[in-house]
């Protein structure tokens, strides 16, 4: 048992940290964007990702044959934790689920077209699984893909596609075989976001960024843009999640918020007395710090399970996601409770405590226990796969 990174991993973490300090840029690295910091949605942030690519930090865990370095996924974990700690964009969908799925299942055309673009940070993707009738029941996608001469015609609607308004390509699940059982009738496609029959509609949220719904009206997708085998879409989606545990939900933003809150409490006063001397505040801080340590322990648990290379750490990852997302919200709630009436002053105004960091974070983190598999879905996974309880839905 060893809770420290190996000397090599430590060295890499330091290298990344130093590089991020040297390349600090307030336009790119803005903590007030909270979880949207991970997106490369502006020219500045895309330029930043090009710099990461030049460092050779994209696709580190990929096979050498496809331009990777074949090093352990834990390096990508270290990288993403450091990036998110600095509120910089993260490596994500491209080198993660999309790149890895293409490497395993993509045809030569797709591999040759997309893998170099991913490694050079020349392409941004949006992922389209959710639909109005496919929320937690992800396999219930209804978006139709009808076979036509030379390709497929896609019709229907996607929901919650966060990156649709800036992405270049769309990674889309669609129903190709409506007569088969729902898990066996889905296929994956790559769709050019410039397709004129694709309509992206912004959905404003109470967080600071928008998400999108996307409408498909006879969107033609050529045959070669079918990913893997027809009808294997859901299996590939599930497999990709298991392949991509290292870069999923970073802990750094939560740890960062805890640190920001602690630093603020240390200096703040109320009725001329130091706020930190208030017993309730002290109790609250003790629990935030403790629960953050538990979240870190749960992250250590899934990282170690993923490192061991045995079966995918589905359970460990579900436990981590369940605990950490609810902690994330609790930290924001507790911070506002500590700030009291001043906590309501909306983010972005200099007169707000911490410029309203927690007022904004309280809104922005609301979705964490829903997106990426709701807390209830995680509990179902833990109940069935970990505890061996019967199917309950």
């Amino acid at each position: 048992m060893d809770f420290d990174f190996s000397p090599e991993e430590q060295k890499f973490a330091e290298e990344v940290e130093n590089w991020l300090v040297e390349n600090r840029d307030p336009v790119v690295m803005d903590h007030h964007r909270e979880n949207f910091t991970q997106l490369s949605d502006t020219p500045e942030r895309r330029a930043f990702m090009k710099k990461l690519a030049a460092k050779g930090w994209l696709g580190m865990s990929w096979p050498k044959e496809f331009g990777g370095q074949e090093i352990e996924g834990v390096y990508e974990y270290i990288l993403n934790e450091a990036l998110s700690k600095h509120a910089a964009p993260q490596i994500g969908k491209g080198v993660g689920i999309i790149g890895k799925t293409l490497i395993r299942h993509g045809n030569d055309f797709l591999k040759e077209k997309f893998l170099p673009l991913i490694l050079d940070a020349e392409v941004e993707f949006a992922v389209g699984y959710s639909e109005p009738e496919a929320g937690s029941d992800a396999a219930n996608m209804q978006l139709k893909a009808d076979k036509v001469e030379g390709g497929w015609l896609l019709n229907g609607q996607k929901m919650w596609t966060t990156s649709a308004h800036f992405a270049d390509w769309y990674w889309v699940g669609a129903r190709t075989d409506p007569d088969k059982p729902k898990h066996d009738g889905l296929s994956l496609f790559l769709v050019d976001m410039d397709n004129p029959n694709l309509e992206v509609q912004s959905l404003p949220t109470i967080g600071k960024d928008t998400t999108n719904q996307v409408f498909f009206d006879d969107v033609f997708v050529p045959d070669e843009y079918l990913v893997g085998k027809q009808g294997k879409g859901f299996q590939m989606i599930s497999e990709a999640l298991d392949l991509e545990r290292f870069t999923m939900f970073t802990l750094s933003p939560i740890a960062n918020r805890s640190d920001v809150l602690v630093d603020w409490v240390k200096e703040a006063k109320r009725d001329d007395e130091p706020l930190k001397d208030d017993t309730n505040v002290r109790r609250t801080i003790a629990h935030i710090v403790t629960d953050t340590a538990v979240a870190k322990a749960l992250s250590t648990r899934f990282v170690c399970a993923a490192k061991s290379g045995g079966k995918p750490p589905t359970i460990e990852s579900s436990q981590y996601k369940l605990f950490t997302t609810s902690l994330s919200q609790r930290v924001c709630k507790d911070a506002l409770d500590i700030q009291g009436h001043e906590g309501t002053i909306m983010e972005g105004q200099d007169d707000a405590p911490l410029r309203g960091r927690f007022e904004g974070a309280y809104r922005a983190t609301m979705n964490e226990t829903v997106g990426g598999g709701s807390s209830e879905i995680q509990k179902n996974i833990i109940a069935r796969r970990h505890l061996g309880l019967p199917k309950n839905f």
Binding site: F3, E9, R282, A293, A297, T300, R301, F323, I382, H386
Partner: protein, 371 residues
Amino acid sequence: MDLDLAEEQQMVIDMAKAMLEEHCPTQLVRDMEDDPNGVPTELWGQMGELGLNGLLIPEQYGGGGLGLLEAAFVYEELGRAMAPVPHFVSCVMSAKVLLAAGSDAQKDAWLGKIADGSAILTPAWLEPERGQGERGIALEAKSEGDGFKLTGRKRSVPYAAVADQLIVLARTEAGVDLFLVDPNAAGITRKQLLSQGREPQYQIDFDGVTVSAEDRIGEAGTGWATWNACMHEGIILLAAQAIGGADRCLTETVDYANQRIQFDKPLGAFQALAHYMADASTRIDGGRVLVHEAAWNADQGRSVSRFGPMAKLFCCEAYRETTRVCAQIWGGVAFTIEYDQQMFFRRAKALQLSWWDTPYLEELIASDVLD
């Protein structure tokens, strides 16, 4: 970074598990409840023979010289078995206090006997209407000649009826000091007070008990610092014990939820109940890694001023909450003496209240973070 067990560590766990399965059936735990002595001879003997009592004691005193991490593995098993033994008071707290501050004579006299189980030492720490910090120590040790006279009352002293020595925390002119005291000395009266966890606990009155200067442990006025440091490590093991108890409570509840049928399906097929269990398992699995990280840090010589309190705070609450939700799944039978669930339910709360309770731990953590 890895959470793999070394071969020797796995052996320690397997050995403790096998021994407890054989020598610590639940019936034994029940039989020992409220017993004035509370020490099951055969089990205690086995633990001594297998070296579990000397786990933390260096080899030169006949112990195994293992680390806190290995001890944490054993404590998870002790918690799982609800083992009714004076291991924590004697082999952890008393041994640690002697190792940290004892004279050579004190160490030579007691550590070997603690390690083989032939002597039991127990700390006399808490007092009525007083707290768990340094200020809570009011029992007076008045200088007299080249020794001291102890006067006052101690509470919640575990296993005092069978103890060969008490380690008494007392107030001297120099501050707080620790004394080795013979529990049969003149002026001492012991009275058993039944406790929620049902281990034998005693109220002890000291009426001018004479103690010689050689029986003070450590330099004058260093008692609280010694005790405080030992507690920070000791509570990591109690956190492990909580995880063991919670884990068994949950495992037995999951089995029950798979068997018990209501509305034509097993209880575990109801999400309201399954989600209780999923939450409990998450807290237990996270708490376990926190315990290991805390113990590992202690073994690396790093400070556990935050890790120790965090581990006990979180794991004891995880244990308590696990027993609460499991009772919901068992239903009415959890409330009966016949079923074992009540044993976890009582022990979880007693453990949370003992050896630094929630508010005390919260303040330790807050102080480490904020002050």
